[in-house]
Symmetry: C2
Subunit: 316 residues, 2 copies
């Protein structure tokens, strides 16, 4: 029996997960970032007690607690070095919860945790190595090597969104130019679609949003592209071009067995997937060697909790 | 006691290496690629017998044989999928030598083998993870993760030279544009220096080569740059710019404890190293997190043999 906790900028999800990965109980509370980390950790401790009480499971049956957070985690100490979303710097959540409950606590980056969920119950099941690429507001990465999570020696590995893959017309939030997430995140494609429309391109997208350009989002872009809109197709093709460069770069370095595409934009499903596969194939340079299969994520909304619970088993 | 074999396009080096990594005997023969792989494997077998005989070491004391080759190796089978230098495709060297000598045989890419040498007797000693980047005719990579070699699931990991890091004015041999080795190999910097000079830039380099532009090589470029030649400085700075993008990309993915710069161009020593360190620091995006130290290779000419012998211990 394991407890998984998924700390997001808006909500904290928690669940009791059994050894067969059944989520036998779940709950959530608002994160309330403004209250500060001490208060939030206190809330989390209360929430863990609530889950233990409500499930009737004895404290000694809980073999570990895993926590996913949106930020950078120091691998050995579990210290949260930086979380922009939570506004946390150098927060020692691991020690506090370990002291309270006397069980091993593991803390991981949320994309890494999602990768663990893919490995346990999703599209990476049965593989020994894999890379999850989440296409959302940013681009995240979860790396599995030899069946375990891989975050690097300082906790900043698997930050695939900050791999430089070309030159872009605007800089990344990190201050540099050409990061993968400035080409492939939903923010990036909205930015590019808006730019093209503002430059005078006519598009179905405008019709969908009743000329309110601010309402353009990833779903609108993919809907228009699927309906053959030239501007939307250009936006999607540019995204896929750079994503496939990113994927082939990851092949050139860690050559995993499988790539899993997750995050909000993966909802565009086979339309996106077939384009990515085509471009990855076009971009691979050792044509005679098989490369990692590209598939869509298939963990559900509870992936964050299940992945966090499984950090206990797969902590690298 | 281990035997290490370093197969290059010109020569095959072999050595008997003891458990303390002393090279107690070494020998070499010309590769003679034109004779075909069957003949070469026969020559290697003869050479192994010669080493065993000359050292007086009993066959049963040899615990393993490691072989480094310039090419792609299928991780499990040791099949050499492709070696451009040797003109080999799908060559099963591992089985043949294993059958002959009855000891475990490991085959690895030569840059990976050089990485193992750095780990055992060089600049990676004492580290658990590291990435060797060899700057030679091409750009190669040797990755160590958790103390073992890492070549990926299909043997095409650690091909760092083919990571795309920008846009270049000419294409890579692999057919794509923007590969690291088209910016950072000796071939790349010679190409760029020649281009600038042919475009009319005046340079000390021309003086060094007595106006014979074809004689410009990496050594000439670095010598001119160290003496303040503007053109050579531009060539070196461009190389360092993209190399540091490559290094920070590798940090974004596998975040190793150390980077080792090897290959012919590393002979330019501290002049190159200080420029790389400066640019890597400028390019890292999580300023509060330590990143892998960048150092120069310090294995000698026997690194290929010692690394190959140690494949037996560190095969990932």
């Amino acid at each position: 029996m394991y407890i998984g906790i998924d700390i997001g900028g808006t909500n904290i999800g928690i669940g009791m997960v059994d050894n067969e990965n059944n989520l036998i109980y779940k709950d959530s509370i608002p994160t309330r970032c403004e209250s500060g980390y001490r208060e939030i950790i206190k809330n989390i401790i209360d929430l863990i007690y609530k889950v233990i009480n409500c499930t009737g499971i004895h404290k000694t049956e809980v073999k570990g607690i895993g926590i996913g957070i949106p930020g950078i985690v120091e691998p050995k100490s579990g210290i949260i070095i930086d979380s922009v979303n939570l506004k946390w710097k150098n927060v020692k959540i691991m020690d506090e919860i370990e002291n309270e409950f006397g069980v091993p606590v593991y803390v991981g980056n949320d994309a890494t945790v999602a990768g663990v969920a893919e490995l346990e119950v999703g599209a990476m099941k049965g593989y020994n190595s894999g890379v999850l690429i989440t296409l959302g507001t940013g681009v995240g990465g979860g790396i599995i090597i030899n069946g375990n999570t891989y975050d690097g020696s300082n906790g900043i590995g698997s930050e695939i969104g900050h791999m430089i893959v070309g030159e872009n017309y605007y800089n990344c939030n990190c201050g540099r130019n050409g990061c993968l997430e400035t080409f492939c995140s939903s923010t990036a494609i909205i930015n590019y679609a808006t730019k093209l429309i503002e430059e005078g391109c006519n598009s179905l997208m405008l019709e969908y949003v009743e000329d309110d350009i601010k309402r353009i989002d990833g779903r609108i872009i993919f809907k228009a592209a699927e309906n053959g809109d030239n501007v939307a197709c250009e936006v999607v093709d540019r995204m896929v071009k750079y994503l496939s460069i990113g994927i082939v770069n990851v092949i050139s370095i860690i050559d995993p067995e499988v790539f899993v595409i997750g995050g909000g934009l993966s909802a565009s499903g086979d339309f996106l997937l077939s384009k990515i596969r085509q471009q990855v194939l076009a971009n691979t340079y050792f044509k005679e060697v098989e490369t990692g299969r590209v598939v869509l994520s298939n963990i559900g909304n509870d992936g964050g909790i299940i992945g966090a619970a499984n950090l206990c088993k797969h902590h690298g």
